[in-house]
Every structure is written in structure tokens, then in C-alpha cells.
Amino acid sequence: MNFLDTLIDRAALSRARDLFRLRKEAPPLERAGTHALRALLVLALVGGVAVLVALARGHHVMGTNSEMPWGVLIATYVFFVAMTSGLCLVSSLGHVFGLKVFEPIGKKAIFMAMVTLVVGFSIIGSELERPLALLKWAVLSPNPRSPIWWMGTLYGLYLVVLVAELVFLLRDDHRRAKVAGIVGVVMAVAAHTNLGAVFALSHARPFWADALIPIYFLAWSLVMGASLLLMLVYLSDAFATGGSLKPESERLFDALRKLLVLFLSIVGVLTVWRFITNLGHHGQAFEVTMAYLTGPFMVSFWLFEVFLGFVLPLVVLLGSKRSSARAVTLAAGLPVLSAFVMRMNFVVAGQMLSLKPVVGPMGETMTYQPPFKGNTSGFLPYTPSIVEALIVLGAVAAVVLLVVGGLKTLRFTKEVQS
């Protein structure tokens, strides 16, 4: 058996096309799944075209501008690489820290972490004006003072570690897998907190320049890791059994539920203190915080970030004696949606106050001659362009497809080979 055969089930790979083939006699659940996968394939292909358009035309096809330089692609990139770190950290409880109950999901989690990181890279690649120049100059002309340089370096190395870890896990080389796993845990924390620092070190943007941000990012990534794995456990059982959890998965499911309760509580506490301390600031951080609490971000903050983000999930997860596995899974899925909204709000909110002084509260008016268009008083607008929106949708579709495809074709369980 050659090296690739130890990782990939070739027979399953050749059957991968069947995933998109509709069988007339198939049960309704499977038929619906096939339709969904077909739709996702179309979406992913359209997203792929959008990435090419973005690479060719750059900022000309983006909704961003010189006053709002970062948009939905940055938010989506952070969203996906947060999944990477979270999946890696939560699953490490099993194959690195030896908690037996988490061991069954280790391989799948590392695989999903790899998928989200690769998709995250594609998004940041299409966001950059010259992604290839970054590969070249990050090596030839590095700036170790720049958090973005560290971001590229840490996540680049992290991908290598993840690939190695997955290969060792699939080959059941537990000794090497553990070493790679330990390095992976360190990289997951380093890379994601550093990504928080990309924002936290932006002194010019007071809403971002907050020492809690790296910790906040890490806490959210743990939520996403636990929540994605919980959904994975339930969904893979549900598709096999027609809607219920297998008895052997119950302990793992319950352990993930408890972890998620812990992580959601941490996110809740951090959210409360981030916003209360911001209220004590002056100037931009205060203005933006008020925009969250009572202004343009009010609905998305209170509904998505707070209520659906951790309040409702905590109620359902804590009351799980009376909640079915399906309800727990649904409640675990909500924070993933909220995590996207949170990042979108966060990226836009940090930039939405023009840094140039405009109309002051005391009637001080300032008229700016040429510089930038749309420099009006109040909050700067941002709407994602069609290309940006398609890249985001395509990325979500690509992650689902790659995960489903990988789960079908990689050798996660060792069958006896003749």
C-alpha cells in the first residue's frame, strides 16, 4: 500500500461524484442532501469565479475604499481561521491531552481545521491587492514589528503543522501525532491571538485598540470549535440513523455540550466587560460603543451577538435534560452565525468614524476640499459589493463541500485492508 493509500480511500474518491447524483429510490433525507450539495457546488463555483475577478480587478470590485479599507472579506477570513484554531484546540483535548472521550473526533477536527484555514487563506488572498507579492516580500523583506507579518508567518507555519498532524493521525502514528498536536496547540493560540493583535495594535482606531481583543478572539474561537464539533457529531449520526444520536456518541456529545457552556460563559463575561469599559472611555471608543448599544448596530448586537450569540444557547444547553439532541445542536449552531455577525460588526465599527475631524457637537463645522469622496459627518457607510458577497457565500459552500467530501474519502477509521 503506498503512502497516499494510507490517507485516502481511492475507491471512495472515485465514488465522490455519486454525492451529486440523485437516486430516485433514495429516502427523502438523502435526496434533500443531494440537492443541497448540488446547490453548494454551484455556489462554490460562482465563489471561485468571484475570487478570480477579485484577483484580477482588486479594489475596483470591492465595496471598500480608502476610508473604510477593510470589509467583509477581512471579517470572513477572521471567521474561518477562528474555526481553525477552535477546532484544533478543542480536539487536542483528546489526542494531545489524553481525555479519552474526545479521541473519536480528533482526526475529523484536524481535517476541518485544515479546510477552514485553506479557505481562509483563499479569502485573504483575494482581499489583498497583490497576494503573490506578500509571499515574496514577507520572506525577502520581513517586518517583525508588523502584526500582519506575524499573521502570515504564524498561519503559514500552522498550516504545515496541521497537514503533518493530519497525516500522522491518519496513519495512526500516535507518537508523532502528539508532538505535532502540541506544536499545533501553541500555534493555534499564537496565530489567533496575534490576529486579535492586528486590531488591538491599531492605536488610531480606539474601538479596536483594546487589550481584551486577542483574548476575546480566542474565546470566540473556542466557542466555534466546540460548537462545530458538536454539530459534526450529531449530524454524522443523524444522517446514518435517520435523525437520532447513536448511543456510543452520547458521552462525547455531552462533553462537548458542557465545554460549549463554559466557552459561551467566557464570551458572555468578556462581552459585558468590553462594552462596559468602552463606555468609560472618551471619544471614538465611546461613540462606537453607543452605536452598538443604541445606534445603527443595535439590532445586530443585541439580537445576534448577545441573545442568539450566548444567552439563548446557554439557556438551551444548560436545560439540556429537557432539550433533545436536535435542540442542543441547533442551539450550538447559533453562536457560529453570531460569530460571523460579530466579526462583520467589529471590522466595520472600528473604521466607521472618519479620523478627520468633521462637524463637532458645538457647531464647529469643517469643510474638506478634494481629499476623499463621501467624507460626510457621522458614520461612514459600508456595503459589501456583489463580488465580496459571492466570495463569502462561495467560501461557506466550499467549506461544507470539502468537509463532506473529506469525511467520505479520507481514512478516518481504519478498516482491515487485505
Partner: protein, 178 residues
Amino acid sequence: MARYGMTVDEKLCVTCNACVIACKSENNVPEGAARCWTVQAEKGTFPFLSVETRSERCNHCENAPCVSACPTQATHVEEGGVVVVDQDKCVGCKACIVACPYEVRYLHPDGYVDKCTFCLHRVRQGKDPACVSVCPTSALTFGDLDDPRAKIFQQLQQRQHRVAKPEEGTRPKLFFLK
């Protein structure tokens, strides 16, 4: 080693925008963007009104946040402490635009970030920056902040002046004379 800076005399500036036009033609600045611009600010409430006028551009900070933010050293400090962007090395991550407290940077249509260079190509030939040369009221002065014989040195000795957002700790080298 020179330490270049610029003063803007708010008493002399009439916001004629000659500096803006000169900069645009000297540096081929694309439509919709500017490396230098003018500000007219009405202050106070009736009847105690006044108008502030000035020309603005990159502050060429001594502690420049854009230089720290750039992952590839595309934004770097050149001779005389002038902060410039190397177009080849710029990857278009826009971290410098985010980091700059003064919004002096813009994304060039060709996919790199651009801003004022104090016309370093002219300064190397012994000339003033284009905006300084063209100013009809001599409101702009460019020179070595450490040279006691320079006009800018004497202005900063004798006149009250301020910098933009001193609280950012960036130590700007663009001074506004009151």
C-alpha cells in the same frame, strides 16, 4: 543627517489649492485621490466666528504607526526621516491605511498604497517640494528641523505652533503655525 519637516502658516494660507494641483501634476496622483489637500474650518458660534485655513498632507511622523504596521517594509523611513512607500513591495493589505491616525493614505488604482513623499525626488536635487514651490503666499516652508540656519528652524523657535493629534504619540513633522 537632515531631519526634514514642514510648516504651514495658518495666517498666510488662503486655501487656493495651488499646492493640491501642483502635487497632483508633480506626482501623477489619480482622479479622486489626493496626497495633499486644504482645509477651511469655521470655528465658534455667531457672532464670534473665525475661519481656520491650512494645507494638510502626511505628517512624516518620527514614530510612524504605518511603518510598524507594514508587513513587508514597503512603508519605510528614507533619508531625512521621510516616510515613503516602495510600490513594488506594497502588497495592498491596507494595514497602513488602518494604522494612520491622519487618513493621509489612499489605495492607488494600480493596487498599491500611495501618499505624500515630501517630493523626495525634488529634495534630492536641492529643490523644495512641489507644494512649497508653488504656494503664492509662501505659507509653506520645508527644511531641516535641526539646521539653525534654516527658515523652518527659526519659525519654530519664534512662532506658536501645533501638530495634529499629539495625543497619538506619533511625533509629527508637519507643524501648523498659529
